[in-house]
Each structure stands twice: as structure tokens, then as C-alpha cells.
Amino acid sequence: MANIMIRQGEKGLIFYLPKRDLEASIESIEFDTADKWGGELKLDNGGSYYIDPIAKPPRLPISLRAKRLGAAED
């Protein structure tokens, strides 16, 4: 599990992993409705993370705990 932060960028959601100073745009988010938001996040760097679905946050950025599904190859 890792702490991550999701913020709204100009083009879409941006994923940020403070521990590794890694910033990447989110290509797809599994659930994106008002009461269920989250699930698997696919990043443009090839990595993917999982966040427990929550109600859609009223304001971004938000810090969450995420599980790494597949890391981007270095």
C-alpha cells in the first residue's frame, strides 16, 4: 500500500506518488460515477494501481491509499 494523491490536471486526472516523486496522468479509472469512484487506475507510464471505490470526492486533490497492481518498468 502506498499513499498517493490524485489531482485534476488540464487534460484529466493526474496521479502522484510522493514517496517516489512520481507524477503520471491517469488514462482510465474503473468507476467514475457520483456514488462509486475509484477502482483500478491505469497510468500513462504503464503502471496500474487500485484504490478502494469511494463516493466521488467533492474536491480534488485527494490523498488516498493505493495498492500497486503493476508497476511501470524502470
Binding site: 494523491m5 489531482r7 502522484y16 510522493p18 512520481l22 507524477e23 486533490p61 490523498s63 511501470a72
Partner: protein
């Protein structure tokens, strides 16, 4: 020297790396690339923020340098204790020229060095008592200080001193913030982690201390984040923002105070100049206080105009009008400067190798003067820095991350730029090779370079460096004669 094609650039990289052993070559190849403007993501062409290869001459600093030297050091009304042996603080003292207003030693302490001067017995028995005593003495000698930060040097982490508990006790006794910063030099791969640690320390120990207190705010409150007032940069920036009708509440951290930092959560917009060293705190404020941050660039008229309009777009029409009026007023001055210097500098080639931000920020300023940046690289950048750089640089130009002394020298020999912009460690190598160098870490003891006033100085400095007659006289007369004879004979 003509611009290289992609194949030539790649060949050059391969040729320079030829001397390394197999393993080192494999590692270094990842850090060198020819720029491809079509790539969106830098990680496809360049690797960054990795441990330097043992045995090469890297130009990086340490986490302590990132925290004490960059982020905390310029906060003028605090006393920054270099906790550990005397050297780290003393040899970096006042080297960065973070200008400030105040009476040094009375109410401001920017250029002074405070250290606990660790001896063998402190390593053996621990230095906590010494630190407590030091803080007491500091309070006695400099009662007007507004707070203390304890900047750990390597031994503190190695011997496991508990500076947090000392700081908490001292803070309660003094009634002033005492901030322990765990920025031991061995942490991380470069000074970049030091920035992060320093930002986190500000977040935990400083930022929220005035939450809930009354503050007279205006809709035009902004904070300058990541401007260290090198040679007066933040001042040159501040006058422009004030002319735009904005109110600058805080300067982080050049000529800044701890009170300003505590007031920053009340602003409407954070203006982020040095993205690399202060994006962490900006991200935190965006999340916790809902203050958006905006990256801007105040090097060179093109970028200034672009940035000012971008900033003004965030505010109402009065700001926009004032901004346009300001741009129009300064445009006359800028045109005169460009008319004066462009003919002298047109077509000159520059190679840059500085910290985590400047290479990409100054490209615009060089282009305004008709100069071309043919190679660029960072000491401690991360992927997101290269993402932003790729778009600024020309296609097939050279990119080098954490370049080694040998590589940089070889690249300069082959590419033959008219000027190099790098640090003091590179200055004399290249000047002896006959290439002018501007020390771009602290503007070669000149500056400011930010803002319109700064651009005038920037243009003049580049002209001074390039037109210096010294470089034509590097070959002594007797060798010149011999050269001519050889030519005649040939």
C-alpha cells in the same frame, strides 16, 4: 558548428560512452538521449533521479544541501543550525547569494553560519545535550530571531540522535518554533530529496501554525513559491506582480520570513517558480487549503508575457487590464535591449547543465536574444522535469541527466558551443578550453535575472561573457607564429 541530426547526436553519445566498462556504459546510456519533441513522456527516452554511478565524477549535491542551502537557508529571520561537524555549514555559508533586507546578526541571519561543531566525543556520547545548550545560547545572543531550524548533517542520522525531542523541549521553553529537519546528507540520490524533506518539515512544523487566526485578505493575494531571491530575483518578480495589481503575501523563501510562511495558507493562488524544489508544499496546500498553484517562468520577455497573462487570467478584469498596460510599458524597454544585444549574440550556441529547473526556464530567454540552446541537462531532475523540458528544446538536441565530468567535457569538445552555462566546478575547465562560461547557479555573482529588469542584466551578462576579448588571446603569441608558419607551409 552546425546543428546535429539525430543520427549524429546518437553517434556522439555512443562515441563518448566508448571508454566506459560494459556495465557502466549500459547504465549511462539510459541517462543520455537526443531530444525527440514528439515524445510525450520523458521516461521513453531518458532515465533520471537514479543513484550516480560509483567512480564517475558527478556534480550532484546532498540532501543537506537541498534543505539547508536551498529551502530553509534563505528564510531570513530564523536561525538555521547546521547540526553536525563544522564543514558542511561553513563551506556553503552565504554561497548562494539569497539577498535579504535586514540587519544581519540582529534580526536577520541569512549569511551567518550556526553549527554545533561535532567533535569525537559528540559522536560517541551523542550530541543532544550540545544541541540543547546551543539553542539556549542562540536565544541569549540573538533574542530577535523568530525561530530555529535544526538541519541534520550525516552523523546525526548515523548515531541516531533524537533531535525531535530536543526541539520540542526547546520550542516549549522559548515559545518559538524549533524545527528539526531530518535532512542527513546520505539520504536519497541528490539534493532533490533534501528539498522534499525540507518541504515536509515546513508542512509539519510551520505551515498550519496560524490556521484559524484572523487575516485581512484581499481577492488578489498570491504567494511567490520557489524563488530564492538570488541576486534579487524575487524582488524583480515581486514588482511585476504588484504592478499587475496583486498583493504578494509571502516569498518562499528568498527574503522570506517565517510569519509569511505561516500566512501562506490564506492566499488565493500560489505562484510556483521553482517547480522541482517546492512542488511538494504546493501540492499539499492545494489539497489541504484548496489553493491552486500555477507554474510560471519569469526569464526573458516572451515567457514573462506568457506567464503574466496566464496569472492574470486567474483574476478579474482589473488585473488583466493592469497586466496588459504593464506589458505594453515594458515592451519598449525590452525592444531596446533586444535591438542592442541581439545582433551581437545572434546564432550563438549554448550548452546548459544546472540544477533541477533552470535549463528549461532560461531557454526562452536565450531564444529572445537569438541564441540557441544545443544541449541541456539537470543534476537532480525527475521525469516530470524532463516531460516539461522536451517540449522546450529543439529536435535532436542533446539531453544529459546527471552528466559526469568526463561526459560533459567530451560533449563540449565535440559540439563546440559558444558558451556553457553551468556551475562553478565546471567554470575553469571550460574557460581553460577557451569557452566562456556563465555560472548559472547564482548568476555568476550578478543578477537578478528574473523579470524585465532581470532580462536587461541577463542580456548584458551574456554579451560580456561572449564578447570577452580574453578568449581570443588564449594562444600565446609565440605559438601563434608557429601556427601561422605551419599554415603557410601547408
Amino acid at each position: 558548428m552546425t546543428t546535429l541530426s539525430r543520427e549524429e547526436t546518437d553517434a556522439l553519445i555512443a562515441e563518448v560512452l566508448e571508454v566506459y566498462p560494459e556495465k557502466a556504459k549500459k547504465d549511462r546510456t539510459k541517462h543520455l538521449a537526443s531530444n525527440d519533441v514528439t515524445i510525450e513522456q520523458s521516461k521513453k527516452c531518458i532515465t533520471s533521479n537514479r543513484k550516480s554511478l560509483p567512480g564517475v565524477m558527478t556534480i550532484r549535491g546532498c540532501a543537506y544541501a537541498g534543505s539547508k542551502g536551498v529551502v530553509w537557508g534563505p528564510i531570513k529571520d530564523m536561525i538555521h543550525i547546521s547540526h553536525g561537524p563544522v564543514g558542511c555549514g561553513q563551506y556553503s555559508r552565504a554561497g548562494r547569494r539569497n539577498y535579504y533586507v535586514g540587519t544581519t546578526g540582529v534580526d536577520t541571519f541569512g549569511t551567518m553560519n550556526f553549527t554545533s561543531d561535532f567533535q569525537e566525543k559528540d559522536i560517541v556520547f551523542g550530541g543532544d545535550k550540545k544541541l540543547a545548550k546551543l539553542i539556549e545560547e542562540v536565544e541569549q545572543l540573538f533574542p530577535l530571531h523568530k525561530g530555529i531550524s535544526v538541519q541534520s548533517e550525516c552523523p546525526i542520522g548515523l548515531i541516531g540522535d533524537d533531535i525531535e525531542s530536543v526541539s520540542k523541549k526547546a520550542s516549549a521553553a522559548l515559545g518559538k518554533p524549533v524545527v528539526p529537519v531530518r535532512c542527513e546528507g546520505f539520504r536519497g540520490v541528490s539534493q532533490s530529496l533534501g528539498h522534499h524533506i525540507a518541504n515536509d518539515a515546513i508542512r509539519d512544523w510551520v505551515l498550519d501554525k496560524r490556521d484559524g487566526q484572523a487575516f485581512e485578505s484581499t481577492p488578489y493575494d498570491v504567494a511567490i513559491i520557489g524563488d530564492y531571491n538570488i541576486g534579487g530575483d524575487a524582488w524583480a518578480t515581486r514588482i511585476l506582480l504588484e504592478e499587475m495589481g496583486l498583493r504578494v503575501v509571502a516569498q518562499w523563501s528568498g527574503d522570506g520570513t517565517i510569519a509569511e510562511m505561516m500566512n501562506t495558507p490564506k492566499v488565493k493562488l500560489n505562484l510556483l517558480h521553482c517547480y522541482r524544489s517546492m512542488n511538494y508544499i504546493s501540492r499539499h496546500m492545494e489539497e489541504k487549503y484548496g489553493i491552486p498553484y500555477m507554474e510560471y517562468n519569469f526569464f526573458g520577455p516572451t515567457k514573462i508575457v506568457e506567464s503574466c497573462r496566464k496569472i492574470a487570467a486567474f483574476f478579474d478584469d482589473t488585473v488583466k487590464e493592469k497586466t496588459e498596460a504593464m506589458i505594453a510599458r515594458y515592451q519598449v524597454m525590452m525592444d531596446a535591449i533586444i535591438a542592442k544585444y541581439k545582433p551581437r549574440l545572434q546564432g550563438k550556441k549554448v550548452m546548459l547543465y544546472v540544477g533541477g529547473l533552470r535549463p528549461r526556464h532560461v531557454i526562452g530567454a536565450y531564444e529572445d536574444l537569438g541564441m540557441e540552446v544545443i544541449g541541456t541537462g539537470y543534476e537532480f531532475a525527475h521525469n516530470d522535469d524532463y516531460d516539461r523540458t522536451i517540449k522546450e528544446m529543439g529536435d535532436a538536441t542533446l539531453l544529459y541527466d546527471d552528466v559526469t565530468g568526463f561526459e560533459l567535457e567530451e560533449f563540449v569538445k565535440r559540439l563546440k558551443p559558444d558558451m556553457v552555462g553551468s556551475g562553478i566546478k565546471e567554470k575553469y575547465i571550460f574557460q581553460k578550453m577557451g569557452i566562456p562560461l556563465r555560472q548559472m547557479h547564482s548568476w555568476d555573482y550578478s543578477g537578478p535575472y528574473h523579470g524585465y529588469d532581470g532580462f536587461a542584466i541577463f542580456a548584458r551578462d551574456m554579451d560580456i561573457a561572449l564578447s570577452n576579448p580574453t578568449f581570443k588571446n588564449l594562444v600565446p603569441p609565440w605559438k601563434k607564429v608557429a601556427e601561422e608558419e605551419v599554415k603557410k607551409a601547408a
